[in-house]
Symmetry: C2
Subunit: 135 residues, 2 copies
DNA sequence: CCATATCGTTGGTGTCGCCAACGATATGGA
DNA sequence: TCCATATCGTTGGCGACACCAACGATATGG
């Protein structure tokens, strides 16, 4: 059922992301920054449904790749303001394209109408369980 | 999309399985044994799409719980023949029930017809990518 | 008889999701 | 004003899942 499909999706996405030097966490952070703008790490964790500690790691790695910037928040010195860079936006676009590709591959056996139906149904499920419908 | 839904499914299933003292690997092994009968560990790995090394661990744990039995195969001394026990069958039934419950919970926002549609579509996807339609 | 393959096992890697604890900082109420 | 409380970033750890490499033991085909 869902789990089975998820296995394939994960494997396909994983392979492609490794080739792009990224992980799921990286994509989520970049997507959240692009969509909602700069944020503190704790805020990113809430947006991406990630643990704060995992945000730390992801942001550090993204910073090392030049895809985000960390800056101390002058208004609240507990916070780091994380901002996506130009290179980060480009990386996000790249990852978005590979995700589209993978989705095409995954849903290959379905017609366009069936895909729409599937996505709509899954969207309802995710929404009901309190999820933001990202990707 | 699929990944989002999978997260919820995993979380729900995980919670219930932990309460039952089981893991996903345990369920897969028990289900394969119940459906196709006794098998060597390598054969189980193929049926469940699990790595041989992970089968070793799962079978060892299931053996410790009395849910399966390991016996040297006299016809091929490389093999262990794994057999499900009565207790194992009961455990499998328990896990099946919790899976049904979780699926109900997960697909709560969908009507009966929509559920059928969703399962059918996912079944097509899994089948296309070379999966045995278990659960 | 020997190369090759399979089997069970051990040990390791990476991703994801989560939790506990810490020091630093903000904030609200006494 | 001071102090309890909460939040933030960070470190370190754990479990589940999926995978890989290598080993000795055993089967099997040429």
């Amino acid at each position: 059922m869902v789990a089975q499909t998820a296995v394939h999706a994960r494997r396909l996405v994983g392979e492609e992301f490794i080739a792009a030097g990224a992980r799921g966490y990286h994509y989520r952070v970049l997507a959240a920054l692009q969509e909602f703008g700069p944020a503190s790490q704790a805020e990113l964790g809430r947006r991406c449904r990630m643990d704060r500690s995992d945000v730390v790691v992801a942001v550090t790695e993204l910073e090392g790749q030049g895809f985000v910037e960390r800056a101390a928040d002058p208004a609240d010195r507990r916070r780091n303001t994380v901002t996506i860079t130009r290179a980060g936006t480009q990386q996000l676009r790249r990852l978005d394209r590979t995700l589209d590709k993978v989705q095409d591959e995954l849903l290959a056996p379905l017609s366009a109408t069936e895909r729409q139906t599937l996505v709509a149904l899954l969207g309802m499920v995710v929404k009901h369980h309190g999820g933001a419908p990202t990707s």
